[in-house]
């Protein structure tokens, strides 16, 4: 009897997993079986639809398993399963509330699977999942959907930015926020945007716009979410980037290679090695890639003035807004940050602060920090003056506690550092006397104020408080009070000296050529052109030219092929322009302020590399001069970014100076981060070497060798005959002479 051919499914008993495996291996042969199972799925689905809330745990196979099976094979039979994704979507959207939990999660997972197999596209998936995320009341489903949505967005943006998808999703989120400002659903828009911002998937203005709408919402949670994003989103992003760059486990390629050499060679090991090599290469590439330029959310805002104004009037100033103090402070912090960063003018903001500047106000240091943050050099001083006065009256007095006084003084200092004109002389002189106080914190705060005004407004101080530098500066007229709205022109360190040197050089050269030293002529231009050819830094006379005499090419024609030089050099033009006034008078030149002359050099000439090198020399010399403490202080003041955020901690900082620490705190401070158990230097070095994956010396190996292994050899040594011992010893001496086994020479 002929053996009957065994059908595909006769051997297996209700094993969808094996059928799935076969279907995926050889789709055309198993089409009938798949079709049967698909029919089964459809029947189950109908049964289910007639009563969606039943738990279908009956029988061997459940709808859940069938859905899993079909979704895994869907890409093999696209015609049969054409309706399948839509059915799943319908099932989920209509019944997600009453579905059995496992089945529901399976449907979500299957949809994601279909998306990964490219059966459906991302926007379909997200448009299905997002409405459910917003509406469902199940916490676990929300968590699942949120993670799936995020991961899908990440995946579809992994190869390159998927602008279309991003735009549609951003529009959906935006509409969610703007359509109903009262509802707490907007929190999902905030969460998704924040997460994607953190991962640097969304870095554009549209995402910021979404957050802007969130902070202008009416629901407290949404508002706080939006505001927190602006205050901390960028820092979070930086931290995440840092973590991802150093968080990955370092693969030690050398170690793996070594292990491959030792262990049994299998295909798996080989694959692993290849994979590791690729990963290392990728990492290396990543390291060399230029750092992506990311703008902070605050800088990407359109119309920050309008935003700050509405934010302030809607949530802070508005008496109807029911935000608790904490959230209000957050909003206020954002408003003041915007004002400080973009130098906005929101006049009503400052009068708002007046009410809250009392030591009894809850979290007053935050208010003080906000006020300092909202101050910039374009705020009218007469708006700030009453505030400073109030702080001085309320906080800084003999009756107030030392912490309060220190915080007040520090707040005043922070405000005045941003707008020095907010202070008048009587008040300042009064405040400065606190540097004689008994409390260290107060002393430090008062000193800070004093040293600030020595730089920015010394004439407000009493004469004996001004200090040497400031007094000298006032006398010489170098130190002048900056007026309202006046900006300081930026300078390049050492440029002044450089220009003087340049002038000197020119004079020398002209005298050497026998020309009047002051007038400019064509030869000089040619000279300059020569300079450009002579790319390297000129070292005056100690050239390698030795005995050669450098003949200047005076009258000869110089063929200049450089297109840049064919143009009339700008320096000449400038000089030609100023020819008429300089004809007779050098007086007018000297009258011109120093700054203008400097800027002229920068705008009229292009510096050669030789020039730049000279400039660097001068800079080095100048920096030696600026090592004096007063100069350091000045530099520190100039370097502070006044548009950075100020926190309440910063305001409170000097008050901590005066506080006595407990013994435990002191011990903890002294211990710091140091390791507890002591380790010798050698041990530490060894550990380091091991960690770097470096090998040990032969000596080390010999020392570490298992005792039992050495035993045999040691025994043999003892049994040697005297002749043998002599041979060995001789050999040893010989080797010593030669310098090792292989010897030193060739």
């Amino acid at each position: 009897m002929v053996k009957r051919k065994v059908g595909a499914l006769e051997k297996v008993e209700a094993d969808l997993a094996s059928l799935q495996y076969r279907c995926r291996r050889d789709p055309p042969s198993y089409q009938d079986d798949f079709q049967n199972q698909y029919n089964q799925y459809e029947t189950f689905r109908e049964l289910f639809l007639s009563n969606p809330s039943t738990t279908d745990d009956s029988g061997i196979v459940s709808l859940r398993e069938l859905i899993e099976f079909v979704s895994h094979c869907a890409d093999c039979y696209p015609t049969v399963t054409a309706q399948f994704p839509n059915q799943l979507i319908e099932l989920l959207t209509l019944h997600h509330d009453e579905l059995e939990i496992e089945l529901r999660d399976k449907i979500v997972g299957s949809l994601v699977l279909l998306r990964n197999k490219d059966v459906i596209d991302s926007s379909t998936l997200l448009n299905t999942l997002f409405p459910i995320l917003v509406t469902t009341s199940s916490k676990s489903l929300r968590a699942l959907l949120f993670s799936k949505i995020l991961s899908d967005l990440r995946v579809s943006n992994s190869k390159g930015t998927n602008h279309r998808l991003n735009r549609t999703i951003q529009t959906v989120l935006f509409n969610l926020l703007t359509s109903d400002r009262e509802s707490p659903k907007g929190i999902w828009a905030v969460k998704i945007t924040r997460e994607l911002w953190k991962r640097q998937i969304w870095t554009d203005a549209k995402a910021v716009e979404i957050m802007k709408e969130a902070s202008l919402a009416d629901n407290e949670k949404v508002i706080v979410g939006g505001v927190r994003f602006f205050l901390g989103g960028d820092k979070e992003r930086e931290e995440a980037a840092e973590e991802s760059s150093d968080g990955e486990d370092d693969i030690d390629i050398n170690k793996i290679r070594h292990q491959v050499g030792i262990n049994k060679k299998t295909k798996k090991k080989e694959r692993e090695l290849k994979k590791a090599a690729a990963q290392v290469k990728k990492k290396e590439k990543k390291k060399n890639a230029p750092h992506p330029l990311n703008f902070s959310a605050l800088h990407l805002l359109h119309d920050p003035q309008g935003f700050a104004e509405t934010l302030f009037s809607k949530h802070v100033q508005n008496s109807k807004s029911k935000l608790p103090l904490e959230s209000k402070l957050l909003v206020l912090n954002l408003v003041s940050r915007l004002v400080g960063l973009h130098k906005l003018t929101v006049i009503s903001l400052y009068s708002y602060f007046l009410k809250y500047l009392t030591p009894r106000q809850a979290s007053v240091t935050s208010f003080l920090a906000c006020l300092a943050q909202a101050t910039h050099n374009l705020v009218p001083p007469d708006v700030l003056e009453p505030l400073v006065q109030k702080i001085a009256n309320e906080f800084v007095s003999e009756a107030a506690a030392s912490e309060v006084a220190a915080a007040g003084l520090n707040a005043i200092r922070e405000i005045c550092a941003r707008q020095p004109l907010a202070m008048n002389d009587t008040l300042l002189q009064d405040l400065v006397t606190y540097r004689k106080s008994k409390d260290k914190g107060v002393v430090m705060a008062a000193r800070g104020l004093l040293s600030l005004y020595r730089e920015v407004g010394a004439e407000l101080l009493k004469k004996r408080d001004r200090g040497k530098d400031a007094a000298l500066g006032l006398i010489s007229g170098q130190l002048k009070e900056r007026r309202f709205g006046e900006e300081e022109a930026s300078q390049i360190l050492g440029l002044e000296e450089f220009e003087k040197w340049k002038e000197e050089e020119r004079r020398k050269k002209r005298i050497a050529m026998g020309l009047p030293p002051d007038l400019a002529t064509d030869e000089e231009e040619e000279d300059e052109a020569e300079d450009w050819k002579n790319w390297e830094v000129e070292s005056d006379d100690s050239d390698d030219s030795g005995g050669w005499i450098n003949v200047e090419s005076d009258g000869e024609d110089i063929v200049i092929s450089d297109s840049e030089d064919e143009k009339e050099p700008p320096a000449k033009k400038a000089k030609l322009g100023s020819e008429d006034p300089t004809e007779g008078t050098s007086k007018s030149k000297s009258e011109e302020p120093e700054g203008k002359k400097l800027s002229k050099l920068l705008t009229t000439t292009i510096m050669t590399p030789a020039d730049l090198a000279k400039l660097r020399e001068f800079q080095a010399a100048a920096s030696v001069k600026s090592n004096m403490p007063s100069a350091k202080r000045r530099a520190a003041l100039a370097n502070t970014h006044f548009d950075d955020a100020i926190t309440a901690d910063q305001i409170e900082a000097p008050a901590l100076l005066g506080k006595k620490k407990t013994k435990e705190e002191k011990i903890a401070m002294a211990k710091g981060d140091r390791e507890e158990h002591h380790q010798s230097t050698t041990a530490r070095r060894k550990e380091k070497k091991l960690a770097e994956g470096k090998s040990t010396t032969n000596k080390e190996k010999a020392r570490k060798k298992n005792f039992l292994m050495t035993l045999g050899k040691a025994k043999g040594k003892q049994k040697r005959s005297l002749v043998d011992v002599r041979k060995t010893l001789k050999g040893h001496i010989e080797r010593q002479k030669r310098g090792g086994k292989r010897g030193n020479k060739g």
Binding site: A14, P28, G59, G672
Partner: protein, 340 residues
């Protein structure tokens, strides 16, 4: 450097082993919650104090609930209890539980994994009064169809028995319920491997008659298909009788103007359900069914029948039976009919 050392220390802290000491109680976990409580008295709210035996209805209800039991012997015994309870009733007495309660609870067991349970189920179904089945036929049919396409061969076979019973009891309702005609036809063709794929792949032509598996099973399937088609295509005795006695002069075709005796008489209008496609549509007329059969299945059935007749033996006999049924059913179809 300092911060990394601190981080390392923090990381280590997570994996430190708690030290166990002999004679000391084990340290409580960090998330330990004390659940002990004190009470002066504990009162049980419900106590069964009845001394009489539960009624038959109550026992039946209990056994119906036991049909979900995880042990298959328990399920089978519950079914057996129900069967004896129903069949031992005096004729004319009402069921201990109405059929509308029994059937939904029972019908899932068509797909049960255990063979014994399914056989017992068939006995129970046969013991039910026939008149009660008709209104539940669509749900029963869905389960039967699920069983027919089931992955396990045993379930496929036993669900054919259920189908035979169902056709005998409520044939008309089965073929005219929503999706009952087209989907069943498709299901049969799939089972028998008679799908007419127009795309001429050689591997597909090979697979004719394969999926049916064993010849015995195939015979059974063909027989089931024959009885299904008989119900759907051949004019029933009742209809013929109606047509015969229709001449009650002066009243003509009264039965069409009377209120329908069936439940849910307007189901075909599908007023409340989701929109149906061609497959899920109800085909209540014999002419409709003939047309659909001709369009969708006839060609495939003809090819398949040829194969089956060639096989001869029992299979050939069953095929001949089926052919006769088709010829009978499609005799008055006015489209052109293949040569039988």
């Amino acid at each position: 450097m300092g911060s990394s050392a601190r981080k390392r220390k923090e990381k280590k802290k997570d994996f430190q082993k708690p030290k166990l000491k002999v004679g000391k109680p084990q340290a409580k976990a960090a998330n330990f919650t004390d659940t002990s409580f004190k009470a002066k008295s504990i009162v049980l709210t419900q106590q069964s104090l009845s001394s009489t035996a539960p009624s038959l209805a109550a026992q039946c209800a209990h056994h119906l609930s036991l049909l979900n039991h995880k042990s298959d012997s328990q399920r089978r015994e519950s079914l057996a209890y129900l069967t004896t309870a129903i069949s031992s009733l005096p004729p004319g007495a009402p069921l201990p539980q109405p059929a509308s309660v029994i059937l939904p609870a029972v019908q899932r067991l068509v797909l049960d994994g255990s063979n014994a349970v399914r056989q017992q189920l068939l006995k129970l179904l046969q013991s039910l009064p026939e008149g009660d089945i008709a209104s539940h036929s669509d749900q029963l049919l869905l389960h039967t169809r699920a069983g027919m396409t089931h992955l396990a061969a045993d379930i496929r076979i036993s669900s054919l028995d259920v189908l035979e019973w169902l056709l005998r009891v409520a044939g008309d309702e089965v073929v005219s319920c929503a999706g009952g005609w087209v989907k069943m036809l498709k299901c049969f063709l799939g089972l028998l491997g008679w799908q007419n794929n127009s795309s001429g792949k050689w591997s597909v032509t090979q697979s004719f008659g394969k999926a049916g598996g064993d010849a015995k099973v195939q015979v059974k399937q063909i027989n089931a298909l024959a009885s299904f088609l008989r119900c759907g295509l051949v004019p029933s005795q009742k209809e013929a009788a109606l047509a015969g006695e229709g001449s009650m002069f002066p009243l003509w075709q009264t039965q069409h103007h009377m209120l329908s005796e069936r439940s849910n008489a307007y189901a075909h209008l599908n007023l409340f359900g989701a929109a149906r496609d061609e497959e899920a549509e109800m085909y209540e007329d014999r002419e409709d069914r003939q047309r659909v059969f001709h369009e969708r299945a006839e060609a495939a059935v003809v090819v398949g029948l040829e194969q089956a007749t060639k096989a001869g033996g029992e299979l050939g006999r069953a095929a001949a039976q089926l052919r006769r049924v088709i010829r009978e059913g499609m005799a008055d179809y006015n489209g052109d009919i293949g040569a039988y």
